[in-house]
Symmetry: C2
Subunit: 245 residues, 2 copies
């Protein structure tokens, strides 16, 4: 027995795209393969307006949602996957080959929304962007080739996702925490750590990313996340109400 | 036991490409996935020169070979595969899904050169172009979506080809006829048919394509092609030397 792939549960998230042609190409690949939810984080403003208003712009593009941060763009997703072509970069995340990663994404899509992140044309995803991801997927490249262009990377990843139009039926799965919830946990935890002096004010950005990855690695079920939030809020109230120094 | 995929045996053939950005994107996808032989048939001249001379143009592009016809561009290949995204067009060829077609191409690459044809951005491959193909491969598209852009179509097809880096070892295969030889057979046969009055002068283009498909369907071994050529030349000499009317 097979479950149909829920294409409308995938959010393709382009982080700070610069080139309107790439935006258009990404949208075109999406509609070509049957995906509809495009989210754009902090786009280079002129590029986004140009691409959107182009004659014959895909409906996917005119319907695209804009977000000021990755955190907000992935808040409703239970799985956040980053894409990378770089092989020599030091990564803090598990890295999956495209075909295996796509299989996991298909499985997750049967029950809840998944975000697939693509970085900007020049620099890819930043460490801050990556810290929102559960794991990374590598777009294959040969030897020391530079990365693909954005439209092609989107096309290849989406093609792999729809390559088999069905996935094996999965057991009734436990409901996973949304990224909005895990992000709340991260922030409460960070706040608690800063307030308590564990994290130095100057080092907070690296610490935040490290924490975020930690929480994502736990792959929390939704009720567990609620439990964590309750606990952290209590801790936070306590550390904030205690006298300094 | 597995045989390594011979990427350098694939010829990516772009037929009358118009847009320099697409040429650049196709070349980039090729080098990204490890392919090196780009052939361009009858390109829109300015586009080809522009793409070729672009700063940072891929080596694949500067090394690209130019041909005046599809026949010449595929002459050294034993398998010629056309790509199409269109589903409603009436086709005279077997049509393969991308994943199955790629498997056959990989198998053929272990022994001899294969051409993969992509049509122009607007109209795809013409019937004349298609008549040089043994079969067609469909780049998947959702519902009634228009075709992908050329760079993305090339990227997706090449990705599927390298998706598994190896193919099962094949038995020692019989050597197949090159497209140069099968084209010679086609032309000799057509000449013979025209001279003998079977093909009307006005109907020769459709007849030529029909013949070409016929010969390709036979999937001839190299020695058989030689035999055919010998026979046809003899026939041709005969029909030409007999008095008209």
């Amino acid at each position: 027995m097979t479950t149909p792939l829920k294409l409308d549960r995938l959010r393709v998230v382009l982080v700070t795209p610069h080139n309107p042609l790439n935006l258009g190409a990404a949208a075109r690949a999406m509609s070509n393969f049957g995906f509809s939810h495009l989210r754009v984080v902090n786009p280079y403003d002129v590029a986004f307006r140009t691409a959107r208003s182009a004659v014959g712009a895909a409906k996917v593009l005119t319907d695209a949602q804009e977000f000021p941060s990755v955190a907000e763009a992935v808040a409703d997703c239970t799985l956040v996957v980053g894409t990378t072509a770089v092989r020599h970069r030091e990564l803090h995340h598990p890295l999956q080959r495209l075909e295996y990663g796509a299989r996991q994404i298909r499985k997750q899509l049967t029950s809840s929304p998944v975000a697939l992140l693509f970085g900007s044309e020049k620099v890819g995803l930043s460490n801050e962007d990556l810290s929102h991801c559960h794991w990374l997927m590598r777009v294959p490249a040969y030897g020391d080739q530079i990365s693909m262009n954005l439209g092609q990377a989107v096309a290849v990843c989406l093609y792999e996702l729809i390559r088999k139009g069905r996935t094996p039926s999965t057991r009734a799965k436990e409901k996973l925490a949304t990224s909005g919830k895990t992000e709340l946990i991260t922030r409460n935890l960070l706040d608690a750590l800063q307030t308590s002096g564990y994290v130095k004010p100057g080092a907070s950005s690296a610490a935040e990313e490290k924490l975020r990855r930690l929480i994502r690695r736990h792959n929390m079920a939704a009720p567990d996340a609620e439990l964590w939030l309750g606990m952290l809020r209590q801790i936070l109230w306590k550390v904030k109400s205690s006298p300094t120094g």
